[in-house]
Symmetry: C2
Subunit: 387 residues, 2 copies
C-alpha cells in the first residue's frame, strides 16, 4: 500500500514537472495502459483515457529528450535513474506515427513495433477508438497474408506485394475469387495496409459477419520507375500503371485463383494511392469496374473547379457512359483532414455531380489524414464490393 | 575533381579522428558501400572490404555517440554539422544485430531495416559473405511466405506462424508436400527465419537448382505458456511441445496440402530451438522422422559426459532402434562459436557415437553463434530432407 502511495506521489510530481515544461497541459489522468502495438513485454509507450501518449526512455547522459508526435514536440523529464518520461496532449483516435528526439537525434522508441511511414521505419501508437471492434483481432477464421516477391522487367528490379487470401482459400481448391488492388500513400509502402491498415483483420471480420464477400486483396508498392539511361533532369516519371497492368495483374491471375474479369476486379488507394488508382482505372476501364478513393483525388492539390473536357484527358466527359461502366465509384474523407484535401476532394465531387456521375461519399468522424480514416474507408467500401 | 580530393581529405581526417578514439584500430580502407539490409534510399550504415561497419547519425546536441556491435562500443566523431560518424573493427561475414548509443540511450540506427533479436526489434547489418550466392535474391521462381494468425486454446492467446510454400504450390492444386517445422533461438521470434534467416530464399535457390525437394516450411514462435492461475513462483514451464503437437501440426495439415506422415515431417531449430525441437522429436517419434539441431543440443549448457540411461528420460538408450526410426539426425556448429556451445555439442556427439547412433555433422567455417551459421545449416540440411 505504501508503495502505491509513493508511486502516485511520484507520478503526480512527474506530471507537475511536465506541466512546467508544457504550460498549456493540464494534469494527466493516471489510467495509462501499454499501447496495443508495443513490442512484447514492453510497458511503454502508454495511452490514457484522455488519449494522451506517455513515453519513457533511459538516457542517463542526455541533456534534452522530447516526444515528437502529431507535429508537436513535448519535453520529457529525467528521474534520478536517468530515465526520461513525458506525455503528449490528447491525440485523435486511431494510429499515429511518432518518434523520440535525444539531444537532437530523431530515433524510434524502442518500446513499439515499427511501421513504414514518413519514408522510414519508425514507431507507432494505437489510441483505442470507439469503433475499434471492426479491426480487432478476433477468434474468427483468418485469411493468410502472403509475401510475394517477383522480378519486374519494366523496372528491372525485384518488387514485392502482399496478398490477402480469405479463410478457406487454402482448403477449397476450386473456388475462384474477385480481387481488390489496394494501394498505400506517399512515403509509405506495400507493408502499410496489412500492418497499420489492418486490412486483413477488417476483411476477416466482415467476411465472418457475412457483410463482405470473400475476396483476394493485393497490396503492392506504388513507387515504380524505369531504369534511367544517362543524365536525368528532375523527377522520374512513374511506371506504376505499366507495372500494375502488364506485370502485377497477369501475375496475380496466374498465381492465384482469381475471377479474371473487370466485374470482379476493383482498385482503391489512399492519398497518393487514391490519385494513382483513379488514373489507372480511368485509363483501363476494360480491366476494373470499381474504384475507391480514400482521402485523395487526381486533381490534388488543387481546389479549383474542374473542367471535365480537359481533366484526365476528358475521361469524365461522358457521365452517362461512365455510369454504365462503373459498378462502384467510392470516395472517403476524414472530417478533420487538413488542407488541401477537403478542397480538392470537394472540387472533384462538384465535377462528378455536374457530370451526373453516381458515386458514394463517406466521411470518417473526427479523424484526420491518418490510418483510422482509411481503415474505416476500407470497412465501408469492402461491404459494397462484388455484390 | 576538387570535390573528390576534398572528400578524400575529409574522410582521411575523419579516420584519424576515429583512430584517436580507438587507438587499436588501423585506418579503414575507403571502399565502404551501403549495407544490403538498409532502408530504401539510406546511405548508412556501410560496410567496406575489410568488413568494417561505418554508421552515421545526426545528433547535434549529443555529447557522446557510440556504435555498439559484437559486444564492443566504438566512439563516433561529430562533424561541424552535428553528424556523428564512426566505424567498427572488422566483423565476421554474415548478419549481425547492432545498436547506437546516444548519450546513454540505446537506440536502433534509423538507416537499417529492423529485425527481432536480443528480445527487441533493432538494427541489423549484412557483411557480404564469400558464399552469399546460396541465399541471394535471384530471378528464380519464388515461393510465398504467409503470415498465419491462429487462436491457441492451450495458451489462451492469439499466436502466429509464417509458412513458406514453394513456387508452384498455388498453381498446382493437387500436389501434396512434406513439411519442415523450423524454430528460432532465444530472444528471437517467428519472424527470424524468413527475415534475417533468409529461409525462403535458401529454399527457392535450392529447389530451382534441383538440390532440394519442394517442401513447406512452418516457422512458429517457440515461446508458449499456459495461462496462470494464482501466484507463480519463478519461471513458467513451456507449453510449446503441446502447442506444436496438438495445435500447430493439425492446423497446418488441415490448412495446407501436406503429406501428413512422419516420413514427410521434419523438425529443426537453432540454439534454444535446437534444444526444444530435439525434445519434441524424441518425445514424438511417431510424428517426425528427421531432425536438425543448429548450434544447440538438449544437454545445453553442460559439457559433461552424458549418461544415455538418464538423459532425456533414456530416449537415446537404444541406438539400434533409433537408427531404424530416424531418417536424418543432423547437427551443425560454427567454428567460432563461444562457450558453452562447442563443449555441449561435443559432449552430445560423444554420446551419439558411444550409442552407435548415425548422424551428420556440419561445421560452418569462420562463423560464431549467428545467422550465417544457421543459414548454412539450413542450406546443407534441406538438401538431405525427404529424399
Amino acid at each position: 500500500m505504501k508503495k502505491r502511495i509513493l508511486l502516485i506521489s511520484l507520478l503526480a510530481l512527474l506530471s507537475q514537472g511536465i506541466c512546467l515544461a508544457q504550460p498549456n497541459q493540464t494534469k494527466a489522468v493516471e489510467d495509462f495502459k501499454p499501447s496495443s502495438v508495443n513490442q512484447q513485454g514492453k510497458q511503454f509507450p502508454q495511452v490514457n483515457s484522455e488519449r494522451r501518449v506517455r513515453v519513457s526512455i533511459s538516457a542517463p547522459e542526455a541533456l534534452k529528450v522530447q516526444l515528437d508526435i502529431g507535429g508537436v514536440k513535448y519535453d520529457m523529464v529525467k528521474d534520478d535513474k536517468g530515465v526520461w518520461t513525458g506525455e503528449s496532449a490528447p491525440q485523435d483516435e486511431g494510429f499515429h506515427y511518432y518518434q523520440l528526439n535525444v539531444d537532437g537525434a530523431s530515433v524510434p522508441d524502442q518500446g513499439t513495433k515499427y511501421f513504414y511511414g514518413a519514408g522510414r521505419w519508425g514507431s507507432g501508437i494505437e489510441i483505442p477508438a470507439t469503433d475499434q471492434e471492426f479491426y480487432a483481432l478476433k477468434d474468427v477464421p483468418h485469411g493468410l497474408v502472403s509475401e510475394n516477391t517477383y522480378f519486374s522487367k519494366i523496372t528491372n528490379s525485384f518488387r514485392r506485394c502482399f496478398v490477402y487470401t480469405p479463410a478457406g482459400y487454402e482448403k477449397d481448391a476450386k473456388t475462384r475469387y474477385p480481387v481488390l488492388y489496394l494501394q498505400h500513400g506517399s512515403f509509405e509502402d506495400e507493408t502499410g495496409w496489412a500492418s497499420q491498415g489492418k486490412a486483413n483483420l477488417i476483411l476477416d471480420n466482415l467476411i465472418a459477419a457475412g457483410k463482405a464477400v470473400q475476396m483476394i486483396i493485393v497490396m503492392d508498392n506504388g513507387y515504380a520507375y524505369k531504369p534511367q539511361s544517362g543524365e536525368t533532369n528532375g523527377r522520374l516519371a512513374s511506371a506504376f500503371e505499366e507495372v500494375m497492368i502488364q506485370e502485377i495483374i497477369p501475375m496475380i491471375d496466374a498465381k492465384f485463383r482469381t475471377i479474371a474479369d473487370r466485374e470482379h476486379r476493383a482498385i482503391a488507394g489512399l492519398s497518393m494511392g487514391a490519385n494513382q488508382t483513379m488514373r489507372i482505372i480511368m485509363n483501363n476501364l476494360g480491366k476494373f469496374a470499381s474504384y475507391g478513393g480514400f482521402s485523395g483525388t487526381s486533381n490534388y492539390p488543387s481546389s479549383d473547379e474542374i473542367d471535365p473536357a480537359t481533366f484526365l484527358d476528358g475521361k469524365f466527359k461522358d457521365g452517362a457512359a461512365l455510369n454504365k461502366q462503373l459498378k462502384i465509384f467510392w470516395l472517403g474523407l476524414g472530417t478533420k483532414e487538413p488542407k488541401p484535401f477537403p478542397g480538392s476532394v470537394g472540387a472533384f465531387r462538384k465535377m462528378l455531380e455536374k457530370q451526373g456521375i453516381k458515386y458514394v461519399y463517406y466521411e470518417s468522424p473526427e479523424t484526420a489524414h491518418e490510418w483510422l480514416t482509411w481503415r474505416r474507408d476500407l470497412n465501408e467500401f469492402a461491404q459494397r464490393l462484388f455484390k
